[in-house]
Subunit: 710 residues, 2 copies
């Protein structure tokens, strides 16, 4: 890509030297020229021949205007001619304009005639760039005009953006159809627009002092795109970049922390009700097999484990230190941990940034940096890692092993995760509290869980991302291998205000979060309950091999609601059903049952009808996923249905036919037991809901598409 | 309002006589003129004086054009002059044009000069009308232009529309801000636009043969609104109107059906597994106190009740007949019911429209009409009416009395209602299956529940509304008294297709449903589970007396998510918190707790902190509703919190301080018991969800606003 970096450097250095922070229009134009961003051509002609040459060079048509300090009202003076369509015409226009000007004011000083490319209609669009507090340089695209401003129809990508990113932006706005040519109009030149987006994104990345940039409007047409107006704002004092260890170092530290050979409990206690007592109990009763070292200023032994005055007195190596001491003692103990070479500090204590004690927290950050200790918290409940039987927390123990790793920024949400998990029998590999996130952040956890074979799905609740860019980069890679689910709190303006009074963190622009998360392949949960349902259901579903979804239902009414849910969740029903497949389904259902899709087997059918139709759905290779709508009847009771479904699916699995299946159960309370049985056998199933099972299947599809598996 | 109905009648009669179905542009203009809808003025001038008079009469500026069969290229001939700003100028223009024309073609036949009002910029909008299969005449409003077409930004109201309806439409589009003047532009004349909407809505109501109408574009400006193009399509063979008894008759019949003194079971049986046996069992075991008459061709007695061969043999009056016989026997038995003067037939049997047997269903409709029997179904599970201990159904009995009346079009959804109710201990007054809706429809039920003192909230699942207009009219009135919740299935195109294969009913345009339901004051549930949660939670919440919502939370993280949910559900947080109130809250919470709104009392607080802050929230008259975010800790266990909250609320209630309170509980599984306890004491509370309690509060507010109580 042709880029004259030296030219831009020169302009920006001059700007800085001048003490200004925004470029003038001509300076902005020069920057655009240097980066190959098309702006309207213009030039000053001193003769008819020059006018002719300029016009031919910049592309016709052109508009020509007298340039004279003595002529203010150019039009009145006959000093403006628009719509000049040829070089010859430009030469004649030069003479006409000069003659008119002289006639208008004989003694006027004439500098020449400005020749300017005329922008021709087309679709007005905007390309811009901003510097986000969390994500850094972002490039933006939207339609131009007042209406679009009112509708706030704009989309963002991390800068620099690839050509593919840029093209995806053109489809990423609500009014994307406008670019494709409506009412018989021409489509805009997508390549030209994508080119501008890429160039803007590179410009702001190459020159970090460019804080904001607007090309508004750009006129996009069939033939190309021209930026009619340029606005560039600089910030020569950007905030320092976040310290971030190398990925290999992060993974190494995180492995020691999450799978420690030895854990110290700083502030361990024999006294019931103390946090240091709860942590000891959870470590011991949770079944942790490594060394446990209680640290206490006086006691020689705590709960059967030899106690030490300091971690430095412990003979062997320690990987993880859990802190259960008052805030004011943390810094001292942390220094000792550093001197001991401990990998990670689990900082349960509160009393830092969340209470306004930013200095105290900063002190910890500096100690951690100095000794290369990674810190979880402060202000957290700790963490669970079930494969190591590790409950490094003061909360109640949790031991249902599974493949979902969860984390929460907030302690309350962490407790909700534990309660839901226990109630819904959700298997988890880890639950981690991140609290104030003085150090360990969502991206550190992603790096660990990426290479952790015990984890198949990662679900994270967060209020902000301290380093959204690092998160996005890691998530983009990890989400190709494992579904990443994020509940971003503080989505709305009211929510964001609460986030900022809660953690002191500025919640970012939600549209930016939304775009970045999607581009990173992350599944964004809309609610706490949805995050939990996704965390529970997504890992047990096999990955679909294609887009064709079929609904098989005993309740026609469920079929309608399940169809609604499919559209809401981006699922594609196999439609029209191929004739032979339709006929095959019809063989199993009553003549008045509706085939097509949903396959409505009708309510009064015996278990065999569910089995036959589901077996067909699993066997036929044109079908890639099934949604079941069960209707509780005397003929087919809930547990009979549930066992039969598991039997058919296992039978097909033995034949190598594995497809995602979810179920919605309508019926009396017995359907709850059936739903749990189905879940425990690999079928996310919900009683009294036609939406949740489809949302879960939709999430699996969203992930599979983003990961390039579909 | 000035309306020349005779003129429109004359034009439409002429259209009908001509065999056409669409009006020409001049005819459309005449219709607009007759109804006072402003269209651009125009006329043919045969002299300069006439031109002058025409121009002055229609409003300036005008454009003038030569009218001659011999001049095709008017502009080339100098036959067009635009922007004529005075009557004098018009006279001169007439002469110029005629002179130019003669010079251009000496022998041209000149008919005169057309004088046409020039439409001046402004905002392009569209007003139109359609005839919907369910709702009948609808008036539509949207912005004009391609972009808005792409975004499908349009809103509908039932025609005729009131002035208030029309004004609400201007605010009812996504891009409403465009009408208010953006970037310093003028706001459009709202009165003029509303006037056109009202006039169009009256026109199509006065002349039902107008099937579709478009005024597109209308140019709306500060000074007024002019329809530049008119399109009117007629249909002279409209479908016949639905038969509908008088409201008093409906209520009378429904009262007999829902609270019968005597019930006949046609097809009663002693044999377990038969529908007629289940119905008998449910009637008897459900505790129904009225007369039960089994009808059976042979048995002299069934389950201890004397049986009869026909309802006609029963000595006393019968109000309700429950049918449990094969489809082919229904018509005969129904005729006997008619002869016996029975008020209602509960048609459980399937085998009618849902299996393609439309004739069979039509036969029932005719018998019902003839004898004035109201029919529920066919193809239903029956109904429950708990105040009468009446389980007129073959499903399992349900006896948890309460104040929500539910209905479902689908049997499967009915079963889900029963299961959810039992599981969540939701009190209900009625559950009704409507099935094929051959006769009794959602609006009949609304009329009954409106006057039923046992019912406080009505929740209905439907796939279509056979007579949407009747529903809307009744719902608009009923919803002023009692919240009406509707789950409209077949929302999306995929869903609608399933609906039509299921019931043979064409699901209407969802945007029309959405607008009409909102205008009728109906709360539209987004999902089955949401309908059920609303049905459970909305009736127990007191009606708020103002818009100021305060969140009190132990978990800061919940506070952020609860704030998000407030915005999502249209709730207004009291912000900024008045200084004295903020100070009052701060007295109860730790110094590092965040006051403001959410009031973050922090996680480690004892029960008294929750009590003090909630008491303050209930006492202060500037606060109208509370959302509680509880965080499970050892210091404040779930049931302690729950009991304390109920105590504080009861204490305040005794002082006449009654406000809606909902709660989100984050914690281990014990929070589920606490949530149920809170619900049973008037506080909708949910474990592991920050969204559902806020959605329920949002629904209550939505209702209160629509009912004019706020």
């Amino acid at each position: 890509m042709n880029k004259d970096k030296a030219k831009v450097r020169q302009i920006l250095d001059a700007l800085r030297a001048s003490g200004r922070d925004s470029l003038t229009a001509p300076e902005g134009k020069q920057v655009c020229d240097a980066y190959g961003i098309t702006v309207p051509g213009e030039g000053l002609a001193k003769s008819a021949a020059e006018a002719s040459k300029l016009a031919a060079g910049m592309g016709l048509p052109v508009v020509m205007k007298i340039v004279s300090p003595d002529i203010l009202h150019k039009t009145e003076a006959g000093g403006v001619i628009v719509g000049i369509k040829s070089a010859d015409e430009a030469a004649r226009a030069y003479d006409t304009i000069v003659a008119n000007a002289k006639r208008y004011k004989a003694d006027a000083k004439l500098d020449g005639v400005q020749v300017q490319q005329m922008i021709q209609g087309g679709q007005e669009v905007i390309v811009g760039a901003v510097t986000d507090g969390s994500f850094g340089k972002m490039v933006a695209f939207g339609l131009g005009g007042v209406l679009v401003e009112v509708l706030k129809d704009i989309t963002f990508r991390l800068a620099p953006a690839t050509r593919a990113d840029a093209l995806s932006m053109l489809d990423g706005i609500q009014a994307a159809e406008m670019l494709k040519g409506v009412r018989g109009g021409d489509a805009v030149n997508r390549e030209a627009l994508a080119d501008i987006i890429v160039r803007v994104s590179e410009l702001v990345s190459d020159f970090p002092e460019i804080a904001e940039m607007d090309l508004n409007p750009i006129f996009a047409s069939k033939s190309g795109a021209v930026a009619a107006d340029v606005r560039i704002l600089c910030n020569f004092n950007p905030k320092p970049a976040r310290h971030r260890p190398a990925e290999a170092d992060i993974v190494k530290s995180m492995n020691r922390i999450m799978k420690p050979k030895a854990v110290a409990v700083i502030g361990a206690s024999d006294e019931t009700g103390k946090i240091g007592n709860s942590v000891m109990k959870n470590l011991i009763n949770g079944g942790y097999k490594g060394q446990i070292y209680p640290i206490h200023p006086k006691s020689p032994e705590i709960m059967g484990h030899k106690a030490y005055k300091s971690v430095k007195d412990v003979p062997g190596e320690i990987d993880t230190a859990v802190f259960a001491i008052p805030a004011k003692l943390v810094a001292g103990a942390l220094t000792e941990c550093g001197e001991k070479g401990i990998a990670g500090a689990v900082l349960i204590p509160s009393g830092f940034a969340e209470t306004g004690n930013h200095e105290g927290q900063q002190e910890l950050v500096e100690i951690g940096r100095k000794y290369n200790i990674r810190m979880m918290g402060p202000n957290i409940y700790g963490f669970y890692y079930t494969p190591a039987n590790l409950c490094a927390t003061f909360c109640t123990a949790y031991d249902v092993k599974g493949s979902t790793a969860l984390s929460s920024q907030s302690g309350g949400i962490g407790m909700a995760i534990i309660g839901f998990s226990r109630s819904a029998k959700m298997g988890v590999s880890a639950i981690v509290g991140l609290g104030n996130k003085s150090d360990i952040d969502e991206d550190d956890l992603l790096l660990y869980f990426e290479q952790d074979d015990n984890t198949k799905v990662i679900a994270q609740h967060c209020e902000d991302l301290k380093d959204g860019r690092a998160f996005a980069e890691v998530a983009k890679r990890v989400s190709k291998k494992k579904p990443v689910i994020v509940l971003k709190a503080g989505r709305t303006s009211a929510g964001a205000a609460a986030a900022s009074s809660h953690t002191g963190a500025l919640a970012g622009n939600d549209k930016i979060y939304d775009d970045v998360l999607r581009q990173s392949g992350v599944i964004r949960a809309k609610s706490l309950r949805q995050m939990l349902d996704f965390a529970r259901g997504v890992p047990i579903l096999p990955t679909p091999k294609g887009e064709n979804v079929v609904i098989i239902t005993g309740a026609g009414g469920s079929g309608v609601l399940l169809s609604d849910a499919c559209v809401d969740n981006g699922l594609k029903l196999l439609k029209p059903m191929p004739e032979d497949l339709d006929a095959a389904f019809r063989k199993f259902i009553p003549p008045f049952g509706a085939a097509g899709n949903p396959v409505d087997i009708t309510g009064g059918e015996p278990p065999i009808t569910y089995m036959n139709t589901v077996r067909l759905g699993l066997e036929d290779e044109r079908i890639h996923a099934l949604i079941l709508g069960y209707w509780h009847t005397i003929v087919t009771p809930p547990m009979v249905f549930a066992r039969n479904m598991v039997q058919v699916i296992d039978e097909m699995k033995a034949r190598g036919l594995v497809k995602p299946v979810v179920a919605s159960l309508a019926g009396d309370v017995e359907v709850e037991e059936a739903a749990q049985y189905l879940y425990e056998h690999g079928i996310p199933a919900y009683a009294y809901s036609t939406e949740i099972p489809v949302e879960i299947l939709g999430a699996k599809y969203q992930w599979a598409r983003a990961a390039g598996l579909l």
